[in-house]
């Protein structure tokens, strides 16, 4: 028996026919076989007949192998790739609404945002909304720092990723 880290996170890129019902098929496959999806993002690709899903899952090698095979078995799936096995760039986008009670707090938050190369995208009377993108750890660090001000709401996209080109 292979003993692998059960909690190893994998970013799987699934290229599928851009058709009605495909998302349900994929989500159904994961739930029926008891695999947990950490995050999922779907969008059309440069070819409008094709969509790409980036799915983040945790599991050992055996589970990953089954996920890979089961996904490939679906008729609408064109290609499955484990991006964590390859050189890749990953990004996630977060929108964070943070409480700012005073002028000083606003100043402080704005400074943090600029260090993290984020953007202020909305200003309320007592809140600032921040857009930040990057790898998971960067977003977590940002959230951690903002916690002291009081985070009102966070929306995260889930990871997207793409392989690096060497040619």
């Amino acid at each position: 028996m292979k003993k692998n880290n059960k909690n190893q996170s994998h970013i799987i890129s699934v290229t599928v026919e851009n058709r009605f019902g495909v998302l349900a098929r994929i989500a159904g496959l994961f739930s029926a076989r008891g695999y947990n999806i950490d995050s999922l993002s779907v969008a059309e690709t440069e070819d409008p007949s094709i969509s790409r899903m980036i799915i983040v899952v945790k599991g050992d090698e055996k589970i990953l192998e089954q996920i890979y095979k089961q996904l490939n078995k679906l008729i609408d799936v064109i290609k499955v790739q484990d991006l964590t096995q390859e050189e890749h760039i990953e990004r996630e986008l977060a929108l964070i609404k943070v409480n700012t009670q005073s002028f000083n707090e606003r100043q402080e938050v704005m400074q943090l945002v600029s260090i993290f190369r984020g953007k202020i995208v909305d200003v309320g009377k007592k809140t600032l909304t921040i857009e930040i993108s990057g790898v998971d750890s960067k977003i977590r660090a940002m959230l951690d720092l903002l916690k002291t001000f009081g985070i009102k709401e966070v929306i995260r996209t889930g990871k997207i990723a793409i392989t690096r080109e060497f040619k």
Binding site: V16, F20, G21, A32, E65, N72, I75
Partner: protein, 555 residues
């Protein structure tokens, strides 16, 4: 042309000669076209019967079986049949009517999301949304059903599109960019496999349903005769080759022969062909074939290394892989092993106590009489296991049984489908008194359509297999398994439908009627065999135990 006409024309192009089905509001236009289309329509008495009949048709012939139902309850009644076909990789195309497209999603009368419901139990499914996509969808559906690892495909066909005008065209070939089944095994893997086989001392081959699906019997026989490697057959693999071959081990697993289970447990090499290592075959997985390296040939990559770790995976079609193996195969030196196998077979044969009227005896007699030439269907339970143990299967597609799902009520409608596909063969359903009542209404279908199948009910007045577990593991508390109260008179019941009914209670009477039953060419026959009510299926490996922990039941 109307959508319904286009659809039926496509079915004809696919070579469909018979459809098992049941009408309703959402398939009225389709049925109207089918009425004088030349395609035989067999009206079953329940949609589940239609699905199982299409399944039996497909398993017995290797062709795609077709069933049809209306929307809503008609469609949901197909579900068990579709799941049964899915688990056993049977190519069927299920056609369902659907409410008109503008009503979909509105909880319209008799609307169900049948593509949603059947998503996990079909190989693929379609909801037709445009009259112009009918030919492509039908073409793809049949192609997907029968290629690669076969399986059921459902087409949901809204009633307004059946009535819409469109053009008929026939796509020259099917091109699905995301679906390219792989048939040729990797040559290097095959070479490695043979190296391993050659150096093995105690090899066992396990032949699964994949051997039968890929029509690989000839190739398997050749391989086995060249190498003399002992072979075990999973339930769905029975009939791959003659089960009476010198080094045949019969069926392994929960109710397998002792010698098959011993051989697997001592083997140093398992060659699995088209078998997915179901838990009924392996017993406790950690103790399965503890000393063996494993070669696994399967057309479905996801079947490989799912349940057991495999040393040499070969993704490919059983027939093609065996052909390649046969190019290099030769005698291997395993004489000590073969001697041991022979000893096991002699000292641990299948046996039962011959007191009273025994189900095993009935199967043996049917086997002797038909000489492996009949198509044997079964229900589920003890009847199924006794059939697997005591019928001497010789040919592929001669056993039709619900292996993966274990669907009671499967055998009788499947037998109808098999007989429709094979009118010249004797087709028998070995039934249990419980199972037969699950689709007993199909008596009308068989009688009316002149499909003279023969049903032997091994009547123990119990849900016998469940009762057996209660006897062995639940302190003989027979909770809800006694069928005595309310059991119909099967003879009168058969007669009331216009079939022949017999009742037999002993060997002598049974032997007297057996030729009459099997030689009856015109009529459906039911034989109510009043067997020993508490007879058990042995040997038995309890669920979760290892293959060597065998209960025997005999003193």
């Amino acid at each position: 042309m109307k959508g319904a006409q286009i659809f039926v024309e496509c079915l004809k192009r696919e070579g469909v000669k018979v459809i098992f089905g049941y009408p309703g509001g959402a398939v009225l236009p389709l049925c109207d076209v089918l009425y004088d289309s030349g395609i035989r329509f067999i009206l079953t008495r329940h949609e589940q019967g239609a699905a199982h009949a299409a399944d039996g048709f497909a398993r017995s012939s290797g062709k795609v079986g077709v069933c049809l139902a209306t929307s809503g309850p008609g469609a949901t009644n197909l579900v068990t049949g579709i799941a049964t076909a899915y688990m056993d990789s049977v190519p069927i195309v299920a056609i369902t009517g659907q409410v008109a497209t503008h009503l979909i999603g509105n909880d319209a009368f008799q609307e169900v999301d049948i593509t949603g419901i059947t998503r996990p139990i079909t190989k693929h499914n379609y909801l037709i949304k445009d009259v112009n996509e009918i030919p492509r969808v039908v073409r793809e559906a049949f192609y997907i059903a029968k290629t690669g690892r076969p399986g059921p495909v459902l087409i949901d066909f809204p009633v307004d599109i059946q009535r819409k005008d469109g053009e008929f065209y026939w796509p020259e070939k099917v091109e699905i960019r995301s679906y390219k089944p792989k048939y040729e095994g990797h040559p290097l893997q095959i070479k490695k496999a043979w190296e391993l086989i050659k150096s093995s001392k105690r090899p066992v081959l396990i032949a699964g349903g994949g051997v039968i699906i890929s029509n690989a019997s000839e190739e398997l026989k050749k391989f086995l005769e060249k190498t003399n490697i002992p072979v075990a057959f999973t339930l769905l693999g029975l009939g791959s080759i003659d089960v009476e071959w010198e080094y045949s081990l019969g069926m392994p697993g929960m109710h397998g022969t002792k010698y098959a289970n011993f051989a697997i447990s001592e083997a140093d090499l398992l060659i699995s062909i088209g078998c997915r290592f179901d838990d009924r075959v392996t017993g406790k997985i950690d103790e399965f074939a503890p000393n063996a390296k494993i070669i696994h040939v399967d057309i479905d990559p996801s079947a490989i290394s799912k349940n057991v770790e495999v040393d040499i995976p070969i993704v490919g079609d059983a027939k093609l892989v065996l052909k390649k193996l046969n190019e290099v195969a030769e005698k291997i030196d395993i004489s000590d092993w073969l001697k041991k196998i022979k000893e096991w077979k002699e000292t641990h044969p299948l046996k039962y106590e011959k007191n009273g009227f025994k189900p095993q005896y009935i199967i043996e007699k049917i086997s002797e009489y038909t000489k492996g030439d009949a198509i044997i269907c079964t229900e589920v339970g003890q009847n199924q296991m006794w059939t697997a143990q005591y019928y001497k299967f010789k040919k592929p597609r001669s056993l039709i049984t619900s292996g993966g799902l274990g669907t009671m009520g499967f055998g009788f409608p499947a037998a109808i489908g098999a007989k429709v596909a094979n009118p010249d063969k004797i087709v028998i359903d070995i039934a249990g008194d419980g199972s037969i009542q699950m689709n007993i209404q199909e008596l009308a279908t068989a009688v009316y359509n002149k499909v003279p199948v023969k049903v032997f009910i091994l009547n123990n007045c119990y849900l016998g297999m469940v009762r057996q577990w209660q006897q062995l593991f639940y302190n003989r508390r027979y909770a809800f398994t006694c069928l005595k109260g309310g059991q119909p008179d099967f003879v009168k019941l058969a007669e009331s439908y216009g079939a022949i009914g017999y009742r037999v209670t002993n060997e002598k009477d049974f032997n007297e009627i057996l030729p009459k039953v099997l030689e009856e060419k015109e009529k459906v026959v039911f034989v109510d065999c009043r067997i020993e009510p508490e007879e058990n299926v042995f040997p038995m490996v309890p669920a979760g135990a290892s293959l060597t922990e065998i209960l025997d039941g005999l003193a």
